[in-house]
């Protein structure tokens, strides 16, 4: 597969994952703004921005509705949902012969819908998140069921896994964690809502309840979002996926054996697989998740070095 094609598929996938995460952040926080809360409006939306990595051109200026609009519709800002979908489609357009018509048509449909729904055309913010999530899920389904699960598909998996692990880790990092405190609905219902909000941002509330019941404690929430083996939005699950996709890629592409990628990804996977949550809390949650985002960036750089922007002399045919 051409390196440029792999690059475009990787970024198409990352942008769509980013759009999905941002939609959920937007949806959850808009609805939480309606409830009385221990967190101020300013604190909440600044935290949203921090969880999205403080994107350029999006700032808190006292008007949460304006910010929400910008996050949803600002097409020229590639951190907005519309911006992400536009960028994903642009990447797909450049590799149109490599993706299936089902994928292309779904992405195209989604793009036309979000760009047509800009507020000046009279569309409402409250209908936007649900419709966009549906579209994104349809695309995911079309990808998994219509595209060959070969090299291109693996690059799509890698993009999604790196983006998701980074986003969840960053989100965890903007919360204050305190292992001693247990959260009960009676004690501080406002506090209780904040933690439900966090789980909802990761589409994790229902799965969490299935495992731990609605009894919310900070260590359990953290364990679920960081270390759960089966939940697809946990950091560990994403890194597992990343590792398998990287292995499949190495097997498929033959000559290039990316040893360093394998080592770095394997080490990260092992640390998540064999980690105890008390250790994480003991050493500081912030430092732990920062290390994860750092390693994801490192893997990204290695993928570029070995598969996409390699030096000519290392890759000449024998």
């Amino acid at each position: 597969m051409l390196s440029r094609v792999a690059d475009s598929l990787y970024w198409m996938s990352r942008y769509l994952e980013r759009a999905e995460h941002t939609v959920r952040m937007l949806d959850v926080n808009l609805s939480m703004t309606l409830d009385p809360s221990s967190t101020s409006e300013e604190g909440r939306w600044k935290r949203v921005l921090a969880a999205l990595g403080n994107p350029e051109g999006l700032e808190w200026n006292g008007d949460f509705y304006g910010l929400a609009h910008a996050l949803a519709f600002e097409r020229d800002n590639c951190a907005s949902i519309t911006g992400c979908i536009t960028a994903a489609r642009e990447n797909a357009r450049q590799v149109r012969e490599e993706i299936t018509s089902e994928q292309w048509q779904q992405l195209n449909r989604m793009y036309h819908r979000v760009t047509d729904e800009a507020p000046e055309k009279g569309h409402r913010l409250d209908e936007f998140p649900a419709a966009t999530l549906d579209d994104l899920h349809l695309f995911q389904g079309a990808t998994d069921s219509s595209m060959s699960h070969g090299e291109g598909w693996h690059f799509i998996q890698i993009g999604r896994a790196i983006e998701r692990a980074t986003a969840i880790a960053t989100l965890i990092g903007v919360f204050e964690w305190d292992a001693s405190e247990s959260i009960s609905e009676g004690a501080g219902s406002q506090q209780f809502l904040e933690w439900i909000g966090l789980l909802r941002c990761c589409t994790a509330f229902e799965s969490y309840c299935n495992l731990y019941t609605a009894d919310l404690t900070q260590p359990q929430i953290l364990r679920f979002l960081l270390l759960n083996k089966e939940f697809p939005h946990s950091v560990r699950y994403s890194i597992d996926q990343l590792r398998w996709a990287l292995l499949a890629l190495q097997e498929g592409s033959g000559r290039l054996v990316a040893e360093e990628i394998s080592r770095v990804a394997g080490r990260m996977q092992a640390s998540l697989n064999f980690c105890e949550i008390s250790e994480v809390v003991h050493h500081g949650v912030g430092a732990y998740v920062q290390n994860i985002t750092h390693q994801c960036r490192h893997i990204h750089a290695l993928i570029y070095r070995d598969y996409i922007q390699y030096k000519v002399h290392v890759a000449l045919p024998q």
Binding site: L2, S3, R4, E97, W104, G254, Y310, P317
Partner: protein
């Protein structure tokens, strides 16, 4: 599609008023309602009606099919064809439009029908013409016999901006320079086809020919079947075979790629379409690297050697080291790799010499020189401004001529005599006198019209519109013309401009067995 196609003056078409011309009659009265209520005839050749106003035999079945089709059924088929074009993403890019930039290619539901006998003549004429032009390129870039013998003046060749001195003495595989040609034909009032121009550099439009055939087969399956239309679906295989036959020696299993300028090129859809149909990699300049004069593409499994490049990038932009230094579309060092014989480019460099508008006037002489035959397809009469006698003639008749700058396309640098002011004519006189090599003059042309379905779903009617024909000629181990081509339509009433960026569209072209 915005190729340097025949951008003919809009104005020329409005010239003659309908009816009252010689023997021409109006449409027979028994047709004169329903879909044909807006049909008109004049001295321009009509593809469906003959000069007595009778339906030509090969159009009878088609006309009958449409006349028996209820309006709702017609609208339904039109709608499903629309959807088919849209979901296949058959679009072209409109430059200078910040929004969107992609549009559905406009098309017409009525096929243009060409009889077997008409086609056989076209085919022979095209094979003859392309064979001769290829021999000419080979000669000019090597021995220069035709120049020495004085059949084509040296000044014309050496002053052509597309003449590539770098090509001198280079042996290209099988001596084939023009692997793919799209030649634009017009049918004049007497019914004969003439060549308006050859596109020997990077002709486009073939994907529209292939996709509209697919849509038409779905919309009118029975009619299509009864007509026994010659198939065109093998075009990608023929092209792939030709490209393979042009691989450098010693590369029995050549890797073939299609080089595109990228997603913002107006013909990007076509590039992806052809790459997919041929099963070859679609590459951009940044995907290719040159090492030791060998071309490689960057893949995730390392560098892979490339043997044949079907390039859809112009000469000027293909190698920033050899040509335009500021081009980012090309590959640095590609020309050297080409000269070393390690890679084949199709088409070769410097083929633009043979579609220069001034050299065009010499093509009949070129055919006679190399093949010792008379041209089967005539040229449009062309006056060279470098020739004092012809120039004088043009100056005296500017009002009835069209003056074209040889290097321009898209209707720029052009004077339409019949619709010009005295000042404009004086200005062109000065321009021509200052640089006679840069201009040619041709008579104002009246070319044929074909029935088209106009008026949308609510109020459909069949009306005549001007059409040209661009058949595609492939040259590998032999010359092949795929039967048909792209019929381009000037969809606006009276317009002669068939270019898609200016209200032109296309229609399917059915070449019959008989």
């Amino acid at each position: 599609m915005s190729s340097p196609a025949n951008e003919l003056p809009n104005a020329a078409a409005e010239a003659p008023a309908s009816t009252s011309f010689g023997k021409r009659k109006s449409v027979p009265t028994n047709f004169n309602n329903g879909y044909l209520r807006n049909y008109f005839l004049d001295q321009a050749y009509d593809e469906m009606f003959d000069s007595d106003g009778e339906v030509r035999p090969h159009y009878r079945l088609l006309l009958e099919t449409f006349r028996c089709l209820p309006q709702e059924e017609l609208a339904r088929r039109k709608h499903s064809a629309d959807i088919s074009f849209r979901t296949q993403g058959i679009t072209f890019t409109v430059y200078g439009n910040q929004e969107g930039t992609e549009r559905i290619f406009p098309y017409d539901m009525l096929p243009r029908i060409i009889t077997g006998a008409e086609w056989d003549r076209i085919e022979r004429g095209l094979i003859q013409r392309i064979t001769a032009l290829n021999l000419f390129l080979d000669d000019v870039y090597n021995d220069g016999k035709i120049l020495r013998d004085g059949f084509v003046p040296r000044e014309i060749v050496y002053s052509c901006p597309h003449f590539r001195r770098e090509m001198r003495g280079l042996q290209v595989p099988r001596n084939v320079y023009i692997a793919v040609t799209g030649t634009d034909l017009l049918r004049l009032n007497d019914g004969a086809f003439v060549v308006l121009e050859d596109n020997l550099r990077v002709p486009s439009g073939v994907s529209y020919m292939l996709t509209s055939r697919r849509v038409m087969k779905r919309a009118f399956p029975q009619t299509f079947r009864s007509y026994e239309v010659r198939p065109i679906e093998h075009y990608p295989q023929v092209l792939l075979g030709a490209l393979r036959s042009l691989a450098p020696e010693g590369r029995p299993e050549p890797t073939i790629v299609l080089l595109t300028p990228g997603v913002y090129n107006s013909a990007y859809f076509e590039h992806t379409y052809l790459a997919r149909q041929m099963g070859i990699e679609l590459v951009e300049g940044r995907d290719l690297v040159i090492h030791d004069n060998i071309v490689y593409m960057r893949t995730t499994a390392g560098l892979k050697r490339v043997d044949v490049i079907y390039r859809r990038v112009d000469d000027d932009f293909i190698d920033p080291l050899a040509f335009h230094g500021d081009s980012i579309l090309g590959v640095a060092g590609l020309f050297n790799a080409y000269r070393s014989g390690n890679v084949t480019l199709a088409n070769a460099f410097g083929t633009g010499l043979a579609d220069d508008k001034a050299l065009y006037a010499y093509v009949p002489a070129i055919i006679r020189y190399y093949l010792k035959e008379d041209p089967i397809l005539p040229n449009v009469e062309t006056f060279l401004m470098t020739d004092p006698v012809q120039r004088q003639h043009a100056f005296e008749n500017l009002e009835s001529l069209v003056v074209k700058a040889v290097g321009e396309s898209g209707g720029y640098g052009m004077l339409i005599g019949a619709h010009s002011t005295k000042e404009q004519r004086a200005e062109f006189r000065n321009l021509i006198e200052a640089n006679p090599r840069n201009y040619i003059a041709q008579p104002t042309l009246s070319f044929s019209r074909s029935p088209c379905l106009m008026g949308g779903g609510n109020d459909p009617s069949i009306e005549p519109r001007h059409v040209d024909l661009r058949p595609y000629i492939i040259y590998g181990d032999k010359v092949t013309v795929v039967p048909g081509g792209l019929t381009r339509v000037a969809l606006r009433k009276g317009s002669l401009v068939v270019n898609s960026s200016q209200g032109g569209g296309s229609k399917d072209t059915w070449v019959l067995h008989a």
